[in-house]
């Protein structure tokens, strides 16, 4: 999986303070946490698994070609603590999603936040680490 994409059509927002990295089991050093990418697309698949969940989003580029982006988050219980449920992302759900991209240019990122187009609901997976 060494696909590299020219991501000119993606908004690179610049340096951000990301706070908490993905904690499941592996290092997050393969992601560039000084950068964010934001894409609009539709949900292809919602994998709620431990130690990490993956939200797969199909994004159409300016050339009309579709690329499926993967956004990594924590496992189901941490997401539940953030108010994120299995039913929130059915296949075809439209959304805008932001993440810290892979350093190697592959279309994956740590999921930072998302907004569901239909109702404007916001999703912040890292809120699942709050103790309340």
């Amino acid at each position: 999986m060494k696909r590299r994409f020219i991501v000119a059509w993606i908004a690179v927002i610049g340096v951000v303070a990301t706070g908490v990295t993905a904690m499941g089991h592996h290092s997050s050093a393969m992601f560039d946490q000084t950068k964010t990418v934001t894409v609009e697309g539709v949900v292809k698949k919602w994998e709620l698994t431990n130690p990490h969940s993956w939200l797969w989003v199909e994004v159409k580029g300016k050339d009309g070609k579709a690329v499926v982006w993967g956004f990594e988050a924590e496992g189901p219980s941490t997401l539940a603590r953030a108010g994120i449920k299995p039913s929130d992302f059915k296949e075809g759900t439209k959304l805008t999603i932001t993440g810290n991209p892979m350093r190697n240019g592959d279309p994956q990122a740590i999921w930072v936040n998302a907004v569901r187009s239909a109702d404007g609901k916001k999703f912040d997976p890292r809120a699942g680490f709050a103790v309340k």
Binding site: M23, H26, S27, T49, N50, P51, P86, K90
Partner: protein, 309 residues
Amino acid sequence: MRFKRVILRAATLSALPLLLSACVSASSPPAVGPDPAVGPKRTKEQNIELGRQHKTAAELFKFLRDEAKGGKKLEWNRLPDWSGVYSRPLDRGFNFDIDQPREGPTTAKLTPDYQKKLDKRLADLKKGIEWDPISTCAPPGVPRWLTEPFLREFVVTPDQTWLINEMVNDIRRVYTDGRDHEPEEDRIPIPNGDTVGFWDGPRLIMHTNSLKSGIYQRGNPDYTDQVETVEIWEKADDKTLGAQVWVYDPPALVEPWYVYHAYGKLSDPPRIRYWDCGENKNNSVFQNKDGTTEFRDLGYQESKTEKGK
């Protein structure tokens, strides 16, 4: 005959309140809670000094047991209330010592070799080079176990207490039935080691040895397989369970590392589900020769799971 029956009825009636009381006691024992602790409460500075005064974790544990006059076995109707689901807050980062500034130097006093190791780890991290030893789904192990930010439950019984971390379905068993550690020649190092303890009122005081080497957390120092801990667990308030922890590890630490860990009780916790680290192949990673971490076979596949359908 009739006289006898009257006497029996009267006796039964007079005993009724007692019988009823016994039934109520059997179904819901009065929650009287544990006795007060015998040993004193200490400040962080006093605990740091207490660690310095004892050369080994075993010596410190013995001192605390003597101070508590041997401790007292819990009774079923006097258990401390550790019910609920807890988690370690991450608002101050996930260093082993949350008093350490997020990007600041470690509060551990490391030997020169282990300071060098840590310096290299932090320098590598800036270059995107990092490998976590639990990347292959190994358990975090003690003392790292204390830092993980996932859900925790605590099961207290007179003979054992179970400290449960959701991550990899991880249980630390603390034996409080009076047994000692395994004999030294029969010890087998395991991630959570061997833990024995005693109760001093509401405090669980415990000693762990037979541990494996590891890291305190990503971006934190290493510990060796000589590491041992002494811990005092106690409710700090209704919503907080705290652990005072001394770590002894002579090859890596110049002096014991004292750290306080606090776990907050969640008001609306989710269910804890089984943690199957291998259920999604997109989470499989490997270490490159340069030390970087790479996903093994990451990518979207049409029929990987049924989730989201």
